[in-house]
Amino acid sequence: MTATLTNIYAPYLMNVDEIIEEAPGIRTLKLMFQDEEAGKSFAFKAGQFGLYSVFGAGECTFCIASGATRKGYIECSFQKVGRVTNALRDVELGDTVGFRGPYGNHFPLDEKVKGHNVVFIGMGIGLAPVRSVIWTCLDERDQYEDVTIIYGARSAELMVYKRELAEWAKMPGVKFVKTVDPGGNPPGWDGEVGFVPTIVEKAAPSPKDAFAILCGPPIGIKFTLPVLLKLGFDPERIYTTLENRMKCGIGKCGRCNVGGKYVCKEGPVFTAAELKALPAEY
């Protein structure tokens, strides 16, 4: 293995083990460590992210979308937007890609959420980090109280993890709500129709003894946060993630800060209370 301890920019080499077409423009890659030892010792916590690279194109940042309880591999889901994500789209089974991480903080499942109710809210591809927590939580289902999952996308076609959504819906003790933006509902749609904030208000998960975990595009978060607060959620118990542009992921390159916080190190997970204290530069 070439990833030496001293070169903090050296990635693990990973094999692309599975490619899943999630939605137009969105794919999930399952990556196996080429070095089995590294794979065995690799551990992360839900909410953390990494830098994925296509050699020759560069690096880009995604959260780790697989559950922290699943060992030996990691998954990432990405949307193609630029140079690296386009190149990542062209990789084939068995190709080598780079990964370094895990970086950043995480959702405090073990520290805080265990033993309480939890409401997951995902918007668009923002379901990726939430999925990691959902699986981490569902794999240890007995350690949590009520679980609610609310997921919204622009249209039914654009929903990610379609097969898993069905699985979650069927799970005992899981309240699952899916929704699409008005107009995004195909004939025979069995979910809700409406923007996520509206649906959250309608579903009105109880704030009692509950934590909320919310991820999505900045605009979605902006409009959903007030709804949660209105429902009575404690700002200290609402967790969300910021996605600032990153290059190093480890507090060196200087581009991810929001005010005095480096999102790559003190984030990407923030509580609503912490967000409020930051300047609106995200």
Binding site: Y9, G56, G98, K252, G260
Partner: protein, 340 residues
């Protein structure tokens, strides 16, 4: 008893070091400019009286403008291998004749490159660097080290500090093990003098009270002053690239179908693309926001995080800005506002 080195022996020291395989970084002429250069002849080193502050800082020698962090090879069927850059073979280096402000930038850079994850690219070069600085007996128009808590004879970051005394000689103060080792190794170049020879250090009065800056920044993230102060900034990288303490970088891959390099390149918060998301969303859309980041980062965020300001008051950003954006004036304005 004081230790002394003559100007002539300082030049000889550069020569001896070079002979021993050390890279000597010294102020030297380049066209009309005085720059820090890896000299090849000790006489390239300018006499201390001929410059106040070299044009750019010596940070290039610990944090190059571009450097390869790993070399990759693209193999058959999508297989890739790579070799991480190893800097163990880098030569020892000595910066001779730099100023205390430049030296003081090193402990500042140590913080960001060392917190939690240790950036070996910086530290390997840093550890191999011995800093011999000369206290300033003159100051430039935009020298304001004393205003930001630094000084013309401050010791931070120097391994040896020289202070000018009569007869083209310098009083030597070895400040670290590295400095003492260097002085011992080249002991024949140093001499002893009776008592404490008087030294010449410029008396530079602070122009504003730096303690007032952070409290003002704490409460004025939004303020019309930013627009007034920063509208002229046009977002180049001149201030950041010349600054001894700026440390932002980009990571890019460059190569062909067979392989290439992953590079770490200087970058700057003044650039539009610096923070732009893949989605097109940009947290800092205007130049005022970007300039505010510069000031906030140096005088608030860095201080909060690492206990040091990310500015040594060298004045390079003011001197080099193509449109005359003057950090000194900005800070002075802020300090005055804060005093009201």
């Amino acid at each position: 008893m004081a230790t002394i080195i003559t100007a002539g022996n300082l030049t000889r020291l550069a020569g001896e070091l070079m002979k021993a395989g050390c890279r000597v970084i010294a102020p030297a002429k380049l066209d009309g400019m005085v720059v820090f250069k890896a000299i090849t002849d000790e006489h390239e080193m300018l006499p201390e009286g001929e410059y106040i502050l070299p044009h750019s800082s010596f940070k290039e020698f610990v944090f190059p403008r571009t450097e390869c962090i790993l070399r990759y090879r693209l193999g058959e069927q999508g297989k890739v291998s790579y070799e991480a850059t190893n800097l163990d073979a880098e030569p020892a280096q000595a910066a001779i004749g730099c100023r205390p402000c430049d030296a003081a930038s090193l402990p500042i850079l140590d913080k960001v490159f060392g917190w939690d994850y240790r950036d070996e690219f910086y530290f390997k070069r840093r550890e191999k660097l011995t800093v011999v600085s000369i206290a300033c007996s003159r100051a430039g128009e935009r020298c304001y080290c004393t205003s930001v808590g630094c000084a013309p004879d401050s010791k931070a970051g120097s391994d040896i500090l020289l202070k000018k005394t009569a007869g083209d000689k310098y009083v030597v103060e070895a400040l670290s093990d590295k400095g003492r080792q260097l002085a011992e190794k080249h002991a024949s170049l140093f001499e002893k003098a009776e008592g404490e020879p008087p030294v010449e250090v410029v008396d530079l009065k602070p122009a504003f009270d730096v303690e007032k800056i952070k409290p003002w920044l704490d409460t004025h993230f939004e303020d019309p002053l930013w627009l007034d102060m920063a509208a002229r900034c046009m977002g180049c990288g001149t201030c950041a690239y010349g600054c001894p303490t700026c440390h932002c970088f980009d990571i890019v891959d460059e190569g062909d179908l067979r392989g290439g390099c992953r590079l770490k390149n200087w970058d700057t918060c003044a650039a539009v693309l610096f923070t732009k998301h893949g989605s097109g969303h940009n947290p800092r859309t205007s130049q005022e926001q970007r300039y505010r980041q510069r000031v906030m980062h140096k005088f608030k965020y860095y201080l909060e995080k690492f206990g040091l300001r990310a500015c040594v008051g060298c004045g390079r950003c003011s001197n080099r800005c193509p449109v005359g954006q003057d950090l000194y004036a900005v800070l002075k304005t802020i300090a005055e506002r804060a005093a009201k």
